[in-house]
């Protein structure tokens, strides 16, 4: 749900607040520090707890960007085989070899 420009978050119920959360998270780096929401958080600590938990999940997710897995050696072997096949095919059709891997 889009957030109206003139909305006053202070009087929102938690359920109403959550309707705006997808949009708020998309437009704020640190929603837990958003000054527009501090009175709401004071009145409804669970809203702040939820926001902080979701921020923690998003922040931890960034650490997953660095890879931990590695494909087996057969993947590269298959790639080389396929490219050799295509190279041979290109040679047959065009009269010159387009690419050679080894």
């Amino acid at each position: 749900m889009s957030v109206p420009g003139d909305i006053n978050f202070d009087d929102l119920k938690p359920e109403e607040f959550e309707q705006y959360l997808p949009e708020l998270f998309a437009t704020s780096d640190k929603l837990s520090d958003d000054p527009r929401l501090q009175k709401l958080y004071a009145a409804h600590p669970d809203c702040l707890a939820l926001v902080r938990d979701l921020e923690t999940i998003a922040e931890t997710a960034r650490s997953l960007f660095e890879p931990v897995e590695e494909p087996s050696d057969k993947v590269w072997a298959n790639i080389q085989d396929k490219l050799r096949e295509e190279s041979a095919l290109a040679f047959d059709q065009d009269g010159e070899q387009l690419r050679e891997i080894d």
């Binding site: 997808p22 890879p67 590269w76 690419r99």
Partner: protein
């Protein structure tokens, strides 16, 4: 959705997401390898594969949740790369370009498979009953600040495919909602909504790990 059109095009705008460049800093020797590979240099291809195989494979594994399929898709991604590298013009980070190519291949593969396609669409547009329940008033204070990478990885692997897709693309890979919307053929609002629901589901999974459904083959299984 016609994914083919997204595969090798320079779809990123001229002013790409600076955050992605920050997360994809230039790699020593990469630019030279790219230029050499464009001229068919086999050693350069090998170098590019060595530089990027782990990230491409990890991305495939997270999206597909299956080691065998992830390896097949890694193979396909690099074959596409090698065939089309001449169209890379350097308007975005090479790894960003390669990841976009990979994501579109994976999505195309999922859509070719009937069951996965249905599953994906169901979770991209889930019914209200399927959405994570609102949970105000029952917060577990232990969660904040204590999510470790392994627990999150395991929880992500057990997400429904649609949630997992949006979460991985946005929170892990760093794509913007408008890019995800284009890739998944949905609205940006839908992407934002799905991301939020994915995070809510993850919160539940992390708070109650014993209730997490076991994924068919998680990334843990690949070890």
């Amino acid at each position: 959705m016609n994914c083919e059109g997204h595969l090798m095009t320079q779809a990123r705008p001229p002013n790409p997401n600076p955050g992605l460049f920050k997360r994809n800093p230039p790699i020593a020797g990469e630019a030279e390898a790219i230029e050499a590979a464009k001229n068919g240099d086999a050693e350069a291809f090998s170098r590019l594969y060595s530089l990027h195989k782990r990230r491409v494979y990890t991305l495939c594994l997270r999206m597909l949740g299956n080691v065998s399929e992830a390896e097949d898709m890694t193979q396909e991604a690099f074959l596409h790369l090698f065939r089309k590298i001449g169209s890379f013009r350097g308007e975005s980070a090479f790894s960003t370009w390669l990841h976009r190519l990979t994501v579109n291949l994976v999505l195309m593969q999922l859509r070719k498979k009937g069951l996965n396609l249905v599953s994906l669409e169901e979770t991209i547009n889930p019914s209200e009953e399927d959405a994570p329940k609102r949970d105000f008033g029952s917060r577990d204070p232990v969660l904040t600040g204590s999510v470790d990478r392994i627990s999150l990885e395991r929880a992500v692997a057990s997400l429904p495919p649609g949630y997992r897709m949006v979460f991985v693309l946005h929170d892990v890979e760093g794509f913007e909602h408008n890019e995800i919307a284009t890739m998944l053929d949905c609205s940006t609002g839908n992407s934002k909504s799905q991301l939020h629901k994915a995070r809510l589901r993850l919160r539940e999974l992390l708070r109650h790990p014993s209730e997490s459904p076991q994924p068919d083959v998680s990334t843990e299984a690949a070890k």
